[in-house]
């Protein structure tokens, strides 16, 4: 079988069109830049004395218009490739882009459904609904949801198992679209080429998304629990607690991140059990958080309180123990296999703990700062006058009113955590050497970068687009939440 072309059937028509659109865009962009430097600005509406409105177009306006239409043509071409992939039969006709678009079909459907429903009900959706008024935020949201749905449907999208090696393709680094040797079962092409071990780059990228998008948001969530549980009392109570906690937070922040990772991940330190002890401390915070949350609110109604606290404790303790217990370790394997619902193996736990540990002090500082600001408000004074306890005020008065900046920071921090996870993988300290997560894949691919760029480039671009999406989303959210 012949290798796939990038663009398939429509390629000969659309490729020159896209190239032309791009060239026109660049020319318009450069001339616009030149015009701006020469002092010619886009026209502004002028109201004359008799009430008529005039708009005299300048060259700068025409340049901007050209840029707009060139972009439009470019986007339409890409859309046509996607449609070609979905509707044209035959892989050779689809081309690589089309075939990938077809594999991502569940994602497109999910995205369309999500955006339609959200757009219909956006009036009632609060901050999330307002996101639809900010184009930048919407693009970011689209990118993030693309990767989220990819992670959810990863098993349907990937064409091959991520660890499956085809011996005939070893050391070949087959370029994108290369055909598998005759007689191989399953999908007949490696859409984005094969890596040095003969594995499919496309499937590894897709399944890597599932890995990254489970660890990064969860780790960020844990870091937020730790940061909130410690930051609220530091800001609200102040005094000695504040001094000590701030000192410790600054201590961790002054620690070079990479050095910390290297220290925590070395086998000798793992053998000494340090990461597990750290996990034992860090994972206590979510349980404490929820117990205090329910207790402070419902302590006047003991039956409800007891029920909620009991549920939290049972579920919390179960999750806590099964996270800590590692079936492959001799030191901390205390849970019977039946009860061990969260099969978190040692390496994953270490990566998780390091990332949570590095992120929590920053969250702590943010929460503390917001608390210092919010606690001067009247509703806090009102609650104090009512005689509410300090934890009630912190968790039910201050925290809900601090949610805006915290949500924005949460988005940013998931992106930052993704970068950190990638860094860990890049230094070979990742989840496991064979894991398809993006950092590790970049690390494997970079050795042969100048000969075969595709094994490293695919995960690199994936990681970039996800983090870019998260940052744009956070920017849009911030802008919209400031509008009130």
């Amino acid at each position: 079988m012949e290798a796939l072309t990038w663009t398939g059937l429509l390629g000969p028509i659309l490729n020159p069109l896209m190239l032309a659109a791009f060239t026109v865009f660049m020319i318009a962009f450069v001339s616009n830049l030149g015009l701006a430097l020469a002092g010619i600005r886009p026209a502004e509406v002028e109201v004359s004395l008799d009430g008529t409105v005039t708009l005299a177009k300048t060259p700068s306006d025409y340049a901007l218009m050209t840029m707009k239409y060139a972009t439009l043509i470019f986007v339409v071409c890409i859309l046509l490739y996607v449609l070609q992939g979905i509707f044209v039969p035959g892989l050779e006709q689809k081309g690589i882009l089309g075939a990938m678009a077809q594999r991502f079909l569940p994602v497109w459907i999910a995205l369309i459904v999500l955006f339609t429903i959200s757009a219909i009900f956006r009036e009632r959706l609060g901050l999330y609904g307002k996101l639809f008024e900010s184009p930048v935020g919407l693009i970011g949201f689209g990118l993030v949801m693309f990767w989220v749905f990819t992670a959810i449907f990863a098993n349907y999208i990937g064409t091959h198992p991520p660890l499956e090696q085809i011996p005939a393709l070893r050391n070949q680094n087959g370029p994108p679209g290369s055909a598998l040797p005759a007689g191989t079962e399953g999908y007949p092409f490696y859409l984005l080429g094969g890596d040095n071990l003969g594995r499919d780059v496309f499937s590894r990228m897709v399944l890597g998304a599932a890995d990254v998008l489970t660890i990064a948001p969860l780790a960020t969530l844990f870091a937020f629990m730790v940061g909130i549980t410690l930051g609220l009392p530091a800001g609200y109570l102040g005094g000695r607690i504040d001094t000590v906690l701030t000192f410790v937070a600054n201590l961790v922040l002054a620690f070079p991140v990479l050095l910390l990772f290297f220290l925590l991940v070395t086998p000798e330190i793992v053998a000494a059990g340090i990461p597990v002890y750290m996990a034992a401390v860090l994972f206590l915070f979510p349980i404490i958080f929820f117990v205090v949350l329910f207790n402070s609110r419902f302590h006047t109604r003991p039956p409800t309180r007891n029920l909620l606290v009991a549920i939290t404790l049972v579920i919390g303790a179960w999750a806590y123990l099964s996270i800590l217990s590692d079936p492959n370790s001799d030191v901390v394997n205390f849970m019977p296999a039946v009860l061990d619902v969260v099969p978190m193996d040692g390496n994953l736990l270490i990566v998780f703990v390091s990332v949570v540990f590095v992120n929590s002090p920053t969250v702590f500082r943010i929460v503390r700062g917001i608390t210092l600001d919010v606690q001067t408000r009247d509703y806090v004074a009102a609650a104090q006058t009512r005689g509410e306890g300090p934890w009630y005020i912190m968790l039910w008065e201050i925290l809900p009113n601090a949610r805006g900046p915290l949500i924005v920071d949460f988005c940013l921090r998931i992106g930052y955590t993704t970068i950190l996870l990638g860094t860990l993988g890049f230094f070979g300290l990742g989840v496991s050497p064979e894991s398809p997560d993006w950092g590790s894949t970049i690390n494997e691919g970079r050795r042969l970068l100048t000969l075969a760029p595709h094994p490293a480039l695919a995960p690199a671009l994936a990681l970039m687009s996800l983090v870019l999406g998260l940052n744009l989303l956070a920017d849009g959210l911030r802008e919209e939440s400031l509008k009130d």
Partner: protein, 362 residues
């Protein structure tokens, strides 16, 4: 002011002490020492032999005492062999016999120890490597800071304009591209003879060499040229740039809404003069702090970039020391890293107070 600086330096010293102790503790855990004993002694030592080797080499003492020795506030250990009468000790080596050896030899005395892997004094290794990294950092800063300030000021002077939106998006994009991603993209795009721009430019005859830039900066250690040093510098500069640019933009946008800018406008001062003479100076106070705080971030970036581009500087040394269990080299690397972070924090705090007359610390 003097008291403020003194207190800050006191906190800094305490932080440095705590952090070095943590690193000391983590690198001197028993499994680490056991591995050290087996690499330096014999790979097939029994547990008792390991213990006696550690005792003989001064690793048997309590952790706090050894930390004090390493720091130079506790006298270095000495041991007299019962059979031969030979005296060994922390401060005794081939060049300084037991009689002349000083009582203290630690970091405070300037003795950083001995790298077991490179077989050399730690001080001489780290010094050279720091110079190399300094060269990289200098060029990265020389590119990053002016570019970031320019982008930030251009974006912030007309908030909400088209220029602002495109430059802000660019700034966000650079913060979303970590060094290992932008480095990979740069290498593929500019330094690969198979892909990207180089084959194209080469076939057009615009460049003589097969690639536009060199993907490995090993040769830049002795002789840095535009050809072999551009990519690592660009990679570091790009990631740090976005953040400074966004801070500058926010600060500039805030200044542009201030009363005195409106007054200047109403007086009829031209827009260019308002930006250059009235706004710029006040808008650059906040970015100064951010620029100083970028140093610790750059440290991580330097480690990644030096590994990616094969440039044997400080970051590369840190990775090697950590993966080779080279305890004293790693300890020194961590002190340097911690000091860089703390000193830049101090400078940023003091500089902020100096630059901003509205803040007075009494």
């Amino acid at each position: 002011m003097g008291l403020f600086i003194l207190r800050r330096i006191g906190v800094m010293a305490l932080t440095a002490l705590c952090l070095t102790f943590i690193v000391f503790y983590l690198t001197n855990l028993y499994p680490n020492l056991e591995k050290l004993a087996k690499t330096l002694g014999n790979n097939r030592m029994t547990d008792e032999q390991v213990a006696s080797w550690l005792d003989r080499n001064g690793y048997g003492e309590p952790l706090l005492v050894r930390y004090g020795e390493w720091l130079g506030v506790v006298p270095g250990w000495t041991l007299e062999d019962a059979e031969t009468g030979e005296i060994t000790g922390r401060c005794i080596d081939f060049e300084t016999p037991a009689e002349e050896a000083p009582r203290f030899c630690g970091v405070l005395q300037g003795d950083l120890g001995y790298s077991t892997v490179s077989d050399d004094e730690v001080a001489s290794i780290v010094g050279g490597r720091l110079l190399l990294t300094g060269k990289l950092m200098f060029w990265a800063f020389a590119i990053m800071v002016p570019a970031a300030l320019l982008v930030g000021v251009l974006a912030g002077m007309r908030e909400g304009s088209r220029t602002d939106r495109s430059l802000s998006t660019f700034a966000i994009a650079t913060t979303a591209t970590p060094e290992y991603v932008s480095g990979v993209i740069f290498i593929v795009l500019l330094a690969s003879s198979q892909a990207g721009l180089s084959p194209l430019l080469n076939s057009w005859g615009w460049i003589d060499s097969p690639t536009l830039f060199l993907g490995s900066s090993r040769s830049a250690m002795t002789d840095a040229t535009f050809w072999n040093f551009t990519l690592p510098v660009m990679t570091i500069a790009l990631y740090g740039m976005g953040y400074i640019a966004r801070m500058t933009r926010a600060s500039m946008a805030e200044v542009m809404t201030a009363q005195y800018i409106r007054t200047a406008r109403l007086k009829g001062v031209s827009f260019r003069n308002i930006v250059v003479k009235h706004a710029l100076r006040n808008a650059l106070i906040a970015p100064f702090t951010v620029i100083m705080l970028q140093f610790p971030w750059l440290l991580t970036g330097v480690v990644i970039v030096e590994t990616l581009f094969n440039y044997n500087g400080f970051g590369w040394t840190l990775v090697q020391a950590a993966s080779n269990n080279d305890i004293e080299l790693l300890l020194t690397c961590s002190i340097v890293a911690v000091l860089v972070v703390l000193v830049t924090q101090l400078i940023s705090d003091i500089g902020y107070v100096f630059l901003n007359p509205r803040i007075r610390i009494s």
